[in-house]
Amino acid sequence: MPAGLLGIEELDRAAIEALLARAKDFQPLQSQSLKKLDTLRGKMIVNLFYEASTRTRTSFEIAAKRLGADAISITAAGSSVSKGESLVDTLNTLAAMRPDAIVMRHSASGAPHFLARHLPTPIINAGDGTHEHPTQALLDARTILDRLGRLDGLRVAIIGDIAHSRVARSNVHLLSRFGAEIVLCGPASLLPAELAHLAPGVRLTGDIRDAIRDADVIMMLRVQLERQHEASFPASEYFTFYGLRLEHLDLAKPDAIVMHPGPINRGRELSSEVADFQRSAILNQVENGVAVRMAVLEKVIG
């Protein structure tokens, strides 16, 4: 199997630290007027997105271009996918054009893992179903490091639809490598008890106040209506019990930060005031997306 990046679960602490350190090197580049390097000049990266995505796809594209690579993006609509071609046939076709890496997002958990077994091209997982979203967890970790100066021994609350969240899974794996105390919080139907076995240091609660108390980091998740295959909770009550409001923040550590992988739904999972709050790190996350993805592309292809 060629070395791509399928998930955080496969990475050890040293590998994560190396990627985060390299991402830091790329951060200043983002604000320079001349942003382009030639590290990956002559390399070709295919972004294959089977699911709608604005920020992840754009940020992978920008990351590739800033490293000097050529990047093309394919979305499922309007490609051979919509003509009924199977996933493996599509990928074989693309692989035959000899790209240096395929960045892939897919609605099926494990789709990149399945392809990695059958393709010679390294695959970078840009989010698979409800499984993992490794670059999101890396950019979240980079953001925490920037804001709090450390990853070790943090207390992190992750709140929302945990069951369907690839962001939550990748973050749990990553933060657990650094000894974080992770509290997962959501309605019981979106918080299966088995989540407690995902990684060391994970605890579950149904009480948002319990989750936030003394937290260093509060990660809010989007309520993913498109992944709700049934009515798992009464939508009308969601914000009342699991929405983050300003008064909750008094329970957290004084310098606690609020994160959200986006896109945010003001008034559904967090109040508008929280979204605009000075300790909100949401735009830092977006900014770090490019730096982290440059580090990943460089490691996989460079």
Binding site: A108, S109, L195
Partner: protein
């Protein structure tokens, strides 16, 4: 035409036989089991060091014909059965068209008579098109050769329909076989609901999906007096409920598949569709409960649920892949490897699970070496070392989780109606 199988260890649970002897088959019928048998012009097979048993019965296979011949045919499936030591197989009705009428039942019986190398006995549908609402022509299918009724993968969800089916089945003397899965609880699920499914972000099929329906069916079986059989039991609670029902004297039986007594969800490589089936591979505790059920007698048959799917259908995103694995060629070896060699059950008990156990449910008039019985025999080794290569399978499909597994013991030769249909 006659065959003498010399010097094998003859194990015939039906007649209480377990001794080294010769087996004589003449004109397609068992002629006797005794030392030093002979017959003029007989084909001699030296079975020294081997076990000679009544022909094995697999009461749960999918032959895919009519309708899905790209996955399997009655002929190819029967050849896989012969290579697995099976002399009789019962095929589930989820063909296209569904076997819900005497016409389809007769087609399968007639086609098998001409093309199959083992005995093929159809299982009829419970409801028309296995749609779950209107009863199929149960009496007519029985008259045409159906040995049981089942909607297998599309279990009857309506308890009232199931009750009526059981009442009819009882009056016709056919057993009702159910694939127990509450379709609302399992909807969208791809694997056992547990730590693995949550970790991999795959939707789970809770054990309760099986337990709920087993509980309902046992109550209905008691209400109607029907003979009732749980297909591929996979959970600890389902095994316990079947055991309790049998203790109360109900005519209730259960089968277990080799994959459910050998594998658990923890043994699954990530997103490998050759491990995707229904019921799913359960927890290690459930697997152990299935083995304990086999040991205690709550489970009285081993059946493969041989479910061929072509590679193109299994080469997809995990959630899009169909459920099912092939199993005819590996069943005996897996039973030896995981039940007999570790000392969980005796060799005699294993033979029961492949002969008298299923025979008691589907009543083929086979599964014994008594003189006069049909001349079916399974000859197997308990120590032959071999490796399963799925690419050499007689099946048209390759979806096995046991590719490249090495075994101690397995089928050596298979005799159906007095003729060798397969030799290793």
């Amino acid at each position: 035409m006659s065959i003498v199988v010399k010097n094998g260890r003859v194990i015939d649970p039906a007649s209480g036989t377990d001794r080294v002897a010769d087996l004589l088959i003449v004109d397609g019928r068992i002629a006797g089991v005794a030392p030093n048998l002979s017959s003029p012009h007989a084909e001699i097979f030296d079975a020294t060091g081997l076990v000679v048993a009544p022909g094995f019965i697999d009461m749960h296979v999918h032959l895919r014909q009519p309708g899905f011949e790209h996955a399997e045919t009655i002929e190819s499936g029967s050849r896989a059965a012969a290579a697995g030591g099976f002399t009789s197989i019962c095929c589930m009705p989820n063909t296209k068209p569904v076997n819900d009428s005497a016409t389809v039942t007769s087609y399968i019986v007639e086609h098998a008579r001409r093309h199959a190398v083992v005995n093929v006995h159809p299982i009829g549908a419970i409801t028309k098109g296995s749609g779950g609402t209107e009863l199929a022509a149960i009496g007519a299918m029985k008259a045409a050769g159906a040995v049981a009724i089942s909607d297998d993968g599309l279990p009857v969800m309506n308890a009232r329909v199931m009750r009526r089916a059981m009442e009819f089945a009882r009056s016709y003397g056919v057993p009702v076989i159910n694939h127990c899965e509450d379709l609302d609880l399992s909807a969208g699920g791809d694997m056992h609901e547990g730590v693995r499914s949550v970790r991999w972000g795959l939707r789970g099929i809770p054990a309760a999906a099986e337990d709920v329906m087993v509980a309902r069916d046992l109550l209905l079986a008691e209400l109607t007096g029907a003979r009732y059989h749980v297909a591929h039991v996979s959970t600890r609670r389902a095994v316990a409920m079947v055991a309790a029902a049998r203790q109360r004297g109900l005519p209730v039986t259960a089968e277990a598949t080799p994959h459910h007594f050998t594998l658990a969800d923890d043994d699954m490589p990530p997103y490998d569709s050759n491990y995707k089936m229904k019921p799913p591979l359960r927890s290690t505790g459930d697997r152990e409960a299935v083995i304990e059920g086999i040991v205690s007698g709550a489970v009285s048959a081993i059946a493969t649920d041989h479910a061929p799917h072509p590679g193109s259908e299994k080469m997809q995103e995990f959630e899009r892949c169909p459920f099912g694995v092939i199993g005819l060629e590996t069943a005996v070896a897996l039973a030896l490897e995981h039940l007999v060699h570790p000392g969980r059950i005796s060799l005699g008990r294993m033979v029961e699970l492949f002969t008298t156990g299923p025979e008691a449910v589907v009543r083929l008039g086979r599964g014994t070496l008594e003189p006069g019985a049909p001349g079916d025999a399974t000859i197997f080794s308990t120590n032959l070392e071999w490796t399963y290569d799925v690419n050499q399978s007689f099946s048209r499909s390759r979806n096995s989780p046991f590719h490249q597994c090495t075994f101690r013991g397995g089928p050596v030769a298979t005799i159906v109606d007095g003729e060798f249909v397969w030799k290793r």
